[in-house]
Symmetry: C2
Amino acid sequence: MEDAHSGGYRPFDVETVKAHVAGLPAVAERLGEGSAGLSAREVGDGNLNLVFIVEGPAGAVVVKQALPYVRLVGDSWPLPLSRAFFEWNALTRQAAIRPERLPQLFHFDATNALVVMEYLTPHVILRKELIAGKRFESLAGHMGTFLAETLFRTSDLSLETARKKADVALFSNNVALCAITENLVFTDAYFDAPLNRWTRPGLDKAALALRADRAVKIAAQEMLQVFTTKTEALLHGDLHTGSVMVTGDDTRVIDPEFAFYGPMGFDIGAFLANLLLAYFSQEGHEGADGERDEYGEWLLATVEAVWAIFADRFRELWRTERTGILFARSVFEDEGDGLGAEIALARFLDGLFADTAGFAGAKMIRRLVGLAHVEDMESIADETRRAACEARALAMGRELLVNRGRLSDVSAITSLARAISRQKDLP
Amino acid sequence: MEDAHSGGYRPFDVETVKAHVAGLPAVAERLGEGSAGLSAREVGDGNLNLVFIVEGPAGAVVVKQALPYVRLVGDSWPLPLSRAFFEWNALTRQAAIRPERLPQLFHFDATNALVVMEYLTPHVILRKELIAGKRFESLAGHMGTFLAETLFRTSDLSLETARKKADVALFSNNVALCAITENLVFTDAYFDAPLNRWTRPGLDKAALALRADRAVKIAAQEMLQVFTTKTEALLHGDLHTGSVMVTGDDTRVIDPEFAFYGPMGFDIGAFLANLLLAYFSQEGHEGADGERDEYGEWLLATVEAVWAIFADRFRELWRTERTGILFARSVFEDEGDGLGAEIALARFLDGLFADTAGFAGAKMIRRLVGLAHVEDMESIADETRRAACEARALAMGRELLVNRGRLSDVSAITSLARAISRQKDLP
């Protein structure tokens, strides 16, 4: 549909991007007058796009531009520019719900597949800070609330049904980005896909065992079924700790180009999976034995708090903003059965928790034996130590997937993480 | 989107429709030369549309034209003409899969919201034949196969993902027809909705009890959640026994204007629900006690056979046509784990059966206490007898909804139906 493939697109470089943004009144004003005083640098360290920081006398902006291929792999893997359109549409919807968790948005250019937004400073990518062992006391609150509000308010619990269905249709066109997830997260890790890689030989046994592990394969495919058929809410779609920027007391969520209408548990599970990957990587970053034990406990406490705060805010929204077609007040509260709505809420959250656990497991596994890995593990130089960390993370991912319906609550997840982290002899 | 609201639409009458079809070469050829020799009559007995039979010297066609409002209620309830567009799109997709189960398709006119198709003769609406106590030995096979093929081949088990997502987007615009189902099937029956009606006073107690029945209300809303978020396959969307035409050995499925991508169990459940409504209505059509007992058993055998034949054909398709993104052969058969695919299939059918039971329950209940009723019950003149039949059907619907996850297989459904039909003292 609204693809930007057609004529006029050109990828910018540090010179051409300056002239381009100087010509955008809203952006130029932010930077200060003229393009003469501008400086630009390219800082994209993700897998897909160009990211420029353009600075002027009065301020700075980020220019994110899609490339017509996957940057991580090269132009042998084309990827539509339309993802910038979907990113912009997701950003504007999220900004309407909780603007302080996003960069400020300045400009969208469909032709050049380009978004101009606030340069966040002194914000740092959360993943890097977790590797460094830093704590963020506002993180769980910010993320739990952001998740609850963005997911609830774009679901049939809240959104008017014609608007929701139109939005489902719009984001259904984000096919190529969904296909990346469908393949990389749920399928490739479980057979001999050409781009799979893992720490060799340390993780060989565990990685190959996945392909013979019927329970985990079926579970992964069942979660794929949920992913590809459950149009529950507008998802960020790639909510790992590299999509979150933080300062001591601020949190911003960036990069929703994988956005589509999918199962709520996918976003929550993605974030928890990456906290758990950070947890299992900690031993690899220790100078002395046990040095990161307390930090690991902080990470697990954060896992618990994200879910708890999410669930609390979700309950509050269920009670006060349930204006959509699902679980209508006419059937419960208006018939004097407020308790019925509360029981339905508890059942809803139970189902959502199972989805969350399953998706968290799938997201962990694919980062260990699939194409795209995480710096938390990759930055462990000693391959024997890294493989040991990864083997435990892989075991955790497997349990989350296979037992997603049997985990009573989030403390069952953190208890399991502790138990697995004590296993020093995993294959 | 492709709505037909814009200029040019006019509802036809028996005179104007003749001139119109005479001007359509493909149709005129079918009818025989000129409009002079044509005759037309309007036979629409459904809730929504005009239906003309136009006959000429060489043959006859059916002209189905949408009205801009709900025929059952009147022009106070507007309904978009675009439903003819969705009907046509569903018909052509189903015809590509299993043409012999549909009328032959001749012409679509978006402006006039009109479909021209084969005049089926001597076919009769299945519902009327079930009221008359007639048996159709090919019915279960035809319907089970049609359901398996149309649902499998439009799902992520088969369809290429870009095509499926484009189709999900297209049918997402069938908002108004989905809204009818969302309200009438899942919600209105469970509160004091203005258009509800039921056999009074015989069914008063049972109808009012629904509104205080927390378990059934939660179950109905959970099925609504599945209905509105699970884009599993292209559904007919309204597959009751009034949407099926039969002869002694032929079966045709008509009227898919409610089509959208939804949960497979909704179509299967709709058809089974209407067979069960027919079953519970039989006592009301008896001249002498027990006169319809054997026929009732044939109806239950048909319920079992529809599911069994559906499941058999679905298994066959799973084994031979599983080319979509779900449960890919690369993960199972190609890794030497064909048994894994079989176990995943069994689990898939288990989940589908629970959906089917739940939707069947919701569809039964709404036909007893909601706006639109079924002739199976309405044609029972004695209101006391009718209320007795309806009370048993209502009890059945409730059990299917509330216990949808606890019914081991289709024989559990038919056993339950027999047990409930023996209850002569329901409220």
